[in-house]
């Protein structure tokens, strides 16, 4: 796999400088709002509370997610692996 960041243009983006242990790193989180069905698994599974559920009237159960604090991200990839709708990309 290449190190190139490959997030499509219709994705929302958050970038931050993070620290994993003592190692410094950067993270880019991509989120596809149109494809998201608002199940909330990412917000539930995240060990660092990076995701937050917010209201969205255009979705069937009235919720989507957003990143509240990307600097907390430790790139564990749990949300990326467990998102059933292919909506999260983390580089």
């Amino acid at each position: 796999m290449s190190n190139k960041i490959n997030i499509p243009e219709n994705y929302e983006r958050w970038e931050a400088e993070i620290k994993i242990g003592k190692k410094e790193d950067t993270v880019t989180i991509g989120y596809w709002r149109d494809g998201c069905k608002g199940c909330g698994i990412c917000a539930d599974i995240c060990p660092k509370k990076v995701w937050e559920i917010i209201e969205a009237k255009d979705k069937w159960n009235g919720q989507v997610v957003r990143v509240i604090d990307a600097t907390n991200c430790i790139k564990c990839m749990l949300c990326e692996v467990h998102c059933p709708d292919f909506c999260i990309k983390i580089y």
């Binding site: 069905k37 069937w60 692996v81 467990h82 059933p84 709708d85 990309k89």
Partner: protein, 283 residues
Amino acid sequence: MAFEYEKYLRMDKIPHLWCPGCGIGVVLKAMLRSLENVGWEKNDIAFVSGIGCTSRAPGYIDCNTLHTTHGRALTFATGIKMAKPDKHVVVFSGDGDATAIGGNHFIHACRRNIDMTLVVVNNNTYGMTGGQHSPTTPIGYKTSTTVYGNIDPTFDICMLAKAAGASYVARATVNKGKVLEKYITKGLENKGFSVIVATANCHTQFGRKNKMGDPISSRKWIADREIPLEKAREMKADELNDVIITGEFITDEQERTRWENYNHPIHEYTDAYKKIIEKAQKK
């Protein structure tokens, strides 16, 4: 690094039709990562499925795909494998598709030990048709056809496959996507019939009637009942009530020793068939 699922997906079909938070999406993702791990050409793989929620999965994969009749996915897959033994055949099935309507096909595919991989997504119910009880609905749980609680004992799909003669059997839950990926990769690499059971959540049909109508509580219900195989071996039989035993039930090496004990040759079906063709042509 994020995995590029677009490489294996028909992106014009995404977002998929499954309910929000459905476990099948996680299983599909694990399958796509496993395909990358084994490094097969997309054109050499055939995905076969029957009818049901799970069986919609091959529709989203950009490989050769076949959507067949209810329960008969393994039958069609066996045909493909016999016609093209050098290609790879993967079958997606739900618990109703594989163990109820296709139960006989399932045990006989295991018995033949034909080189295919079967991924059974077990969501304890018939999700697509309205939440009727399936052979894997646990005792005591309510479904639309068992409104006072189910009394039918359940199938343990892994034990069934093991007894019938499959050469790789493993079970993981949707809460552990990486473990699922590891097991599916091993199953794809195994020469012989591999069964991977993925215990998934169906909060819309099964969960709603059992007070866990959202994906989070439904996934927690699965996580709470999960017991690793090593731990389960030390426990007493009466403690293993309403649990999900996860782990690798049978690997290829174990299978070989088991059959040696029975003084029985183990072979893969397409290999054995090739030998028969050679024998017949020699005269």
